[in-house]
């Protein structure tokens, strides 16, 4: 899957000759960039409109994050050329997102189940609330 990049980076000797003519960059037509830009602007307007309408939570935050994720995908695929580049760059980026998810999941597991072991440390019990308020006063 990533043979092209591996060959280029690790053992270019034989493949560099074969792949030399392939070093010409992939040029996208101008209209592709303007289409992506137009879509990004439209999605920005959509987020603002959805926010002004005032959907109930948690629908509002889910819609906002889905729209943001679509915008991010557009930027990454076309402006950052991941759609046309070697898949290994995509793999690095996806792995970083996976580790971000891991970070969120394990921290949440800790924060939201702490109260089951020690109610005083719960973030949501009355005791936990008081503790936090005291901490704030310091």
């Amino acid at each position: 899957m990533f043979e092209k990049l591996r060959n280029i980076v690790l053992k270019s000797g034989s493949t560099a000759q074969a792949g030399h003519h392939g070093s010409e960059p992939h040029v996208l037509p101008l209209k592709t960039y303007f289409a992506v830009f137009g879509a990004l602007l439209l999605l920005t307007i959509l987020t603002v409109v959805v926010s002004v309408i005032g959907l109930p939570q948690p629908t509002a935050i889910i819609v906002a994050m889905v729209v943001a994720a679509i915008k991010a995908t557009l930027v990454v695929l076309w402006f950052m050329h991941l759609k046309y580049d070697d898949r290994f760059y995509s793999l690095i980026f996806i792995i970083s997102i996976l580790f971000l998810a891991l970070f969120f999941i394990f921290t949440s597991l800790d924060v939201f189940t702490r109260g089951q072991v020690n109610p005083e440390e719960s973030s949501f019990s009355q005791d936990g609330l008081l503790l936090r308020q005291e901490f704030m006063k310091k």
């Binding site: 509002a60 290994f88 971000l100």
Partner: protein
């Protein structure tokens, strides 16, 4: 070894451009290595910002009422204006990289200049927002001044912990703004190098890497804008 390589290259009919560093065998290898390094750095950037986004998420779950009330103190119109500035700058940056691919020096130069100016416009709006908040006492942690905020016509009592909201607001937008500033410095350097004629369709991985960096800065703002300004 070096002689052997160059004779190999000569045998294959390859030219040896002056910008090809001696430890790389071909431009393709040199460009791919540079870009690989940049993508590893971008992966690191995602993880670097993930801590701030996690802090935001937990604080918002702890104090939903604070986030609902405090976001009224941010001007979503300025946030939207900044979003448009950054999205447009991402377009001009992508066009500058395309300019390098088609060997057009003016396309590179004017698009990078436009990107730099749009980044500057973003920072000006950020300055207006920050100075307004400094003036009204809407500051992070124990610098938060409720009396001053009230005196300046803000809601008398923001429930929960407004100091935490502003700590998160300033840390997230401040870190992002620092990235914008660094990007602008890189673009000044780019302008010098474009003017010098350093880049062409074969050799522009530096321009491309600054572009990738600028897009990730834009990408982070795409998430910051709805999270901070559009809480409903």
């Amino acid at each position: 070894m070096g002689e052997q390589q160059s004779s190999q290259a000569a045998a294959a009919g390859q030219h040896h451009p002056k910008y090809l560093a001696h430890h790389f065998e071909s431009m393709e290898q040199q460009n791919a290595s540079g870009k690989l390094g940049m993508w590893l750095f971008l992966g690191q950037e995602v993880l670097f910002f993930s801590g701030l986004f996690l802090a935001y998420t937990l604080a918002r779950i702890f104090y939903p009422e604070t986030f609902l009330a405090a976001h009224e103190l941010l001007d979503w119109k300025l946030g939207a204006l900044n979003t448009i500035f950054l999205l447009t700058s991402s377009l001009t940056m992508a066009l500058a990289v395309r300019g390098a691919q088609i060997n057009s020096k003016p396309t590179m130069f004017w698009n990078i200049l436009a990107t730099l100016l749009l980044g500057g416009a973003f920072m000006v709006v950020k300055y207006i927002e920050y100075s307004h908040k400094f003036h009204d006492g809407l500051l992070p942690g124990h610098f938060f001044d409720a009396a001053k905020a009230m005196h300046n016509g803000h809601p008398a009592n923001i429930p929960g912990a407004p100091a935490i909201f502003f700590a998160i607001y300033f840390t997230m937008t401040g870190t992002h703004g620092l990235h914008v500033l660094i990007g602008m410095l890189l673009m000044l350097w780019l302008l010098v190098r474009i003017n010098r004629g350093d880049f062409n369709s074969e050799n522009h991985v530096f321009l491309e890497n600054v572009g990738l960096y600028w897009h990730i800065v834009d990408l982070i703002w795409i998430f910051l804008f709805p999270l901070l300004y559009l809480v409903r």
